[in-house]
């Protein structure tokens, strides 16, 4: 699958309170969460993000709380994927579990600028910056996590077969 969109660029250590502030966590409705996604980091984001757009950020994206509302808000906002140098571990897990594609590449995260047009081949992890013509290779995804994506998230993964199980 080829993901394509305009880039919204953020810095390092984007925390889950920036992605979705706790004052909105009295709901888990994805559409409502999307209306406040990233608003403390960039107030224009929720109203101007377009389907397919891509978030690019530095290291440790999604640090802080375990709230799954964070990747849910990003996905519901229409963002096709997140590219970052590294991801905080709970966010990393959550993104796979709920089916938000994420890619780790220090070079891409550093080079790509706000407003660049970028494509990502979700299967191979090849990131192409259409604005500059440069390509990057995202870090490989462990096979078990690839299976979660292929199944369409963790819940689908474990409910296959008569007896739910992890493997």
């Amino acid at each position: 699958m080829l993901l394509k969109g305009k880039v919204w660029k953020f810095g390092s250590d984007v925390d889950t309170d920036a992605i979705i502030p706790a004052r909105y966590l009295n709901t888990s409705d994805p559409a409502e969460l999307a209306r406040h996604c990233m608003e403390d980091a960039d107030p224009a984001f929720p109203s101007q993000v377009k389907p397919g757009d891509i978030i690019a950020a530095g290291k440790n994206f999604g640090c802080g709380s375990s709230r799954e509302h964070a990747p849910v808000a990003i996905k519901a906002a229409g963002v096709s994927c997140v590219i970052a140098g590294t991801f905080a571990r709970i966010f990393y897990r959550n993104a796979f579990n709920i089916g938000l594609p994420i890619f780790e590449s220090f070079e891409a995260a550093e080079d790509i600028k706000e407003g660049d047009e970028v494509t990502v081949d979700a299967g191979s992890g090849t990131i192409t910056n259409l604005t500059t013509g440069k390509t990057y290779q995202a870090a490989p995804v462990p096979p078990f996590m690839q299976q979660i994506i292929t199944a369409g998230g963790l819940i689908n993964r474990i409910r296959k077969g008569d007896t739910p199980s992890l493997y």
């Binding site: 309170d17 509302h69 709970i90 897990r93 992890l166």
Partner: protein
């Protein structure tokens, strides 16, 4: 093959002789945890799995603590969803307002977590229980849903990093200062994906409350878990309290560490982490003149009885500054009652503080102490991100309970030695 304490606990729960860092395992869980924000999502996901019952009614803890007592109608709806699920599935560890506490203060206190356990919780500060010599880590709601159904979870075995503390603790320095200093040194992703093992003579003499504080903030350095080898201090805490058999594990002397850090605690002063990251820590003496509007003492980081005693020591016979709101939130009802019996609550109220029922409330900008634009708070909580305690243009400074109390009296960030 030599293993760390983290590797030994993971191996035992994966039914393996040994595990190595990087390995993916499926592990049995001793307890899983959710709260009023994360459990509602987990419950919705659980319903999709297609199982009729949870894996074990005794091993699921649901603790509404973030927005309770319910702060608005939507929060009430979320808390009700959790309550209804607990009743439907006959869960023995659901804690209602009046009997509840902040989850990470409550579960160890109630003996629901013990040494050698493997615990996952849909809350990032689940890493707190490492203080008991357990492996515990935060996950999202979907992972919680899967574990509620299966009684197991998948984990990548983390590399371990050791943090060794030697020397002697200065006055007013505790677990909070050691961990803030450490995060200041290694950064908010300095232990990303790794186990943080705290060792050395300082840790061996640290109270359980101080140990809980340190392991609680492992996540603020990106750590997967914080852990301290159980000893006689641990034994004194868990004996007669733990509801299940427990097991003490220790790292082998020749276990492999990705890195070892050494700290001379004699050189560590009480710390303050400046906005907007916990890594921005510096000694209180170098804080400069920072006036405050609010001070918060409580949370899963510093809401235990030892923390309240420290705060009371700094507040005894003093008055809160006229420009400051001091809000104190004991971590659990038992802690509240103990503080009452010891006269601490009287000290707080006479000083002009507000004392609240247990709740996470202000820590995450939920309720019970929200900041306006331009306001500043000193807080014993764990995060000082932009907008964490309210308006995006407010500021949070993290500190230990005595520093928060002293700052409330002085109206600015201050060490307890400055309160005359």
């Amino acid at each position: 093959m030599p293993m760390t304490i983290t590797e030994k606990i993971l191996a035992a729960h994966a039914g393996k002789e040994k595990v190595t860092p990087g390995e993916l395992i499926s592990a049995r869980v001793d307890l899983v945890l959710g709260n009023d924000i994360t459990a509602p999502v987990a419950i919705q996901e659980f319903e999709k799995i297609g199982v009729d019952t949870v894996f074990d009614q005794e091993r699921i803890a649901l603790v509404p603590d973030h927005f309770v007592p319910n702060k608005d109608i939507k929060s009430a709806g979320q808390a009700k969803l959790v309550k209804d699920f607990a009743h439907k599935h006959n869960l023995s560890n659901y804690f209602e307002v009046g009997r509840m506490g902040i989850e990470h203060c409550l579960l160890p206190e109630q003996g629901l977590v013990g040494p050698g356990d493997l615990v996952i919780g849909a809350d990032s500060h689940t890493c707190t229980y490492g203080a008991l010599g357990a492996f515990s880590t935060g996950v999202g709601s979907t992972d919680l849903a899967a574990a509620m159904a299966l009684g197991e979870t998948w984990l990548k075995v983390p590399e371990s990093t050791r943090f060794e503390f030697e020397g002697e603790l200065k006055p007013w320095v505790g677990g909070k200062d050691l961990i803030l200093h450490t995060i200041g040194d290694i950064g908010v992703d300095g232990a990303l994906y790794r186990a943080m093992e705290f060792t050395g003579p300082i840790i061996e003499n640290l109270s359980m409350d101080g140990r809980f504080t340190m392991c609680n903030m492992a996540i603020e350095a990106g750590g997967k878990n914080g852990i301290i080898a159980p000893d006689e201090i641990t034994r004194a805490y868990v004996e007669g309290r733990c509801r299940r058999p427990y097991k003490f594990y220790r790292s082998d002397p020749d276990a492999k560490y990705a890195r070892v850090y050494h700290y001379d605690a004699s050189r560590i002063e009480p710390q303050v982490a400046f906005p907007h990251l916990p890594e921005n820590s510096r000694p209180v003496s170098e804080a400069g003149h920072v006036e405050i509007d609010q001070a918060i003492i409580g949370s899963c980081t510093n809401g235990r009885i030892g923390d309240l005693r420290e705060a009371a020591k700094a507040l005894q016979g003093k008055k809160v500054h006229k420009n400051v709101r001091l809000i104190i939130l004991p971590g659990t009802q038992d802690i509240y009652l103990q503080a009452l019996k010891e006269g601490l609550i009287e000290t707080f109220i006479e000083a002009g503080a507000a004392v609240s029922t247990p709740t996470c409330g202000p820590c995450l900008g939920g309720h019970m102490g929200i900041l306006a634009a331009g306001e500043r708070a000193v807080s014993t909580t764990n995060r000082n991100f932009v907008g964490r305690m309210g308006h995006p243009e407010s500021e949070v400074y993290l500190a230990n309970p005595a520093v928060a109390a002293a700052s409330a009296v002085m109206g600015r960030i201050a060490g307890p030695w400055e309160v005359k």
